[in-house]
Amino acid sequence: MLFDILLTASFWAAAVRIASPLIFATMGELICERAGVLNLGIEGIMVIGAFSGWMAVYLGMGLWGGVAVAMLAGMLFGLLHAMLTVPFGLSQHVVGLGVTLLATSTSYFVYRLILPEVTSPPKITPFQPLEIPYLVDIPLVGPALFAQTALTYAAFAVVVITAVTLYRTPLGLAIRAAGENPGAVAAQGLSVTGLRMGAVIVGSGLMAVGGAFLTLSAFSSFFFEMVNGRGWICIALVVFGAWRPGKALLGALLFAGFDALQIRLQQTPVGQVVPYQMFLMAPYILSILALILMSRRAQVPAALMQPFNKGER
């Protein structure tokens, strides 16, 4: 039974599809944390990304225009988070949760302003699968990896860009140093504040694109509660990936694989016996288990959650 599922191409395609929003948001969070800032605004920023991207398209913009709007909205809330946590050094926990509440309620407020009476949200035409010639004919791997929407391909590109930037460029070195030893960065004459703020703003933009994936590629409309804890799961994925883009990607794919599996298991005889809520719980329990498993080995950025103030010694 398990094998039957694992041998279908649709299962692997679903796993990659489910992973895509997580990949964007996980990379976003990873960039923030590598610079030393925990961004708990992620959940709300994904909501505002999902909402604003969809709303832009609904109001007549193109799909890529929607992605750009989502990204800008995310960066705006990222700027707010960065202003409060970096130069002012306020509690990253409280600010993050505040940003999540603000971004979520803003999305709902504007939604109700524009669409006061609707009960079922209007649909848009989402991104369509883009088959890559020849590669799509490879069994299992082909349909899974090479018949996805453009946004999924972009998600994988973002991983590569993040990894190369962080590990192969002076900018990446400076960002990582800001998260490990900000004093040394300042001694080099670089601005820790600037690096951290930049990282949070760019990271938040990516989180919002992850949210926009939900409305512009996975589903075709916006629902309340549609992000449903995905942001928190991405924070767990960053820890699981030991703050490394490649490992975090692997974590997101693994996680999405389990998610795709539980959906399919619900339709099997197992699903007749076990209540569906237990299947839905699995991803959250899995995240907690992953955190426990990785907690001892993980290389936490040394200055994570530590505000840096140039004047202090």
Partner: protein
């Protein structure tokens, strides 16, 4: 731009910035109302009227404040020790589940005398739910923010399962809700004819007790020490992990009382919409109160008033009710900034 700590902030500074935060929040809320096409002053008036304009409105606000006092206290206690309990929602539901289980089975025949036992049972459940993430923190160093958050989702699914399965009310006409609590186990009203139940009274007592523990006991001192500087606390011989566990038991228990009081005082049964996010709103309540237990009572009534007032305003003026959440989130962020600015001065260069 950098920050320079101020050794002894004056009273003007300590009151001025939070007051300014409140004013700016109201200004922003007025702007939002204007954006929604309503008259800002009229909207504000409608919110006030809906929250406190009549005896009925005021009692409704106090009823809504009751669970917020409990969750606000739960979070104030935890945050004071820098234990980031974001899972009050899960603990609330744990308390509600136990209240219904005890109140519809073993204790249902015992009458009102069993109420304290039910409450205590609920508290134990909430404490246990928070104990999990805290042990993961002290034993494995797993960040409790993420684990408590994830527990909220797990608990909601558990409630959904229980209400569709073992706890489903056979007389519920197919609605996913539990069987009703025994009449004798309902919290009585504070006064005859007043729509306010004793949960509010218990909440006030709880706030007083928490204040006493924090201000007048060794445990309270240790909690503050752990929150201020865990390394220093450990060096001073305070068993940091032990204090965190005790804090968790208290915090989880308080949050669970919110579930107990909502079931036994207001709804009478468990349903999936028992809490419209009381666990999360408790964070705002606690932060606005600067984590002071008696302040929590004031801010909980204030926050409840905004929700109740916004609901009735929304019906009358057509401004989406989510304006309340936006206003509170803005207020939270501005208040955190204001507190930061009382302790630091911004210097150029």
């Amino acid at each position: 731009m950098r920050l320079e700590p101020i050794a002894n902030p004056g009273l003007g500074r300590r009151l001025g910035f939070p007051a300014a935060a409140l004013v700016v929040t109201v200004v922003i809320a007025s702007l939002l109302a204007a954006i929604a096409g309503a008259d800002p002053l009229l909207t504000l008036g409608l919110v006030l009227k809906g929250a406190a304009g009549s005896k009925f409105a005021l009692l409704e606000t106090l009823n809504r404040a009751t669970p917020l006092i409990f969750t606000g206290l739960a979070i104030a206690v935890a945050f004071r020790a820098k234990l980031w309990n974001i899972g009050a929602e899960a603990q609330l539901y744990a308390g509600a589940i136990v209240t219904v289980v005890l109140g519809t089975s073993v204790l249902s025949g015992m009458g009102a005398a069993a109420l304290p036992i039910v409450g205590l049972g609920a508290m134990v459940a909430g404490a246990v739910v928070l104990l999990g993430p805290v042990v993961l923190k002290t034993r494995f160093g797993v960040d409790e923010v993420v684990t408590t958050l994830l527990f909220n989702f797990i608990m909601l699914l558990l409630v959904s399962y229980l209400l569709e399965g073992p706890m489903k009310d056979p007389m519920g006409m197919g609605w996913p809700k539990s069987a009703p609590l025994d009449r004798a186990l309902r919290l009585p009203r504070i006064a005859e004819g007043l729509r306010l139940h004793w949960g509010f009274g218990v909440a006030l007592i709880a706030a007083g007790l928490v204040w006493f523990v924090q201000a007048r006991t060794t445990l309270g001192y240790e909690m503050r020490a752990v929150g201020l500087n865990p390394q220093a606390a450990r060096f001073a011989g305070i068993p940091v992990n032990g204090v965190l566990v005790k804090t968790a038991l208290l915090s989880g228990g308080l949050a669970a009382l919110a579930g107990f009081s909502e079931v036994a005082g207001l709804k009478g049964h468990l349903s999936q919409d028992l809490s419209p996010g009381f666990g999360y709103t408790g964070i705002i309540v606690a932060m606005l109160a600067l984590l002071h237990p008696l302040g929590v009572v004031v801010t909980a009534i204030f926050v409840a008033g905004i929700f109740v007032g916004a609901d009735s305003m929304s019906r009358a003026a057509g401004v989406p009710t989510y304006i309340a959440d936006m206003m509170l989130a803005t207020g939270l962020l501005l208040m955190v900034l204001a507190i930061g600015l009382t302790k630091f001065r911004v210097v150029r260069g």
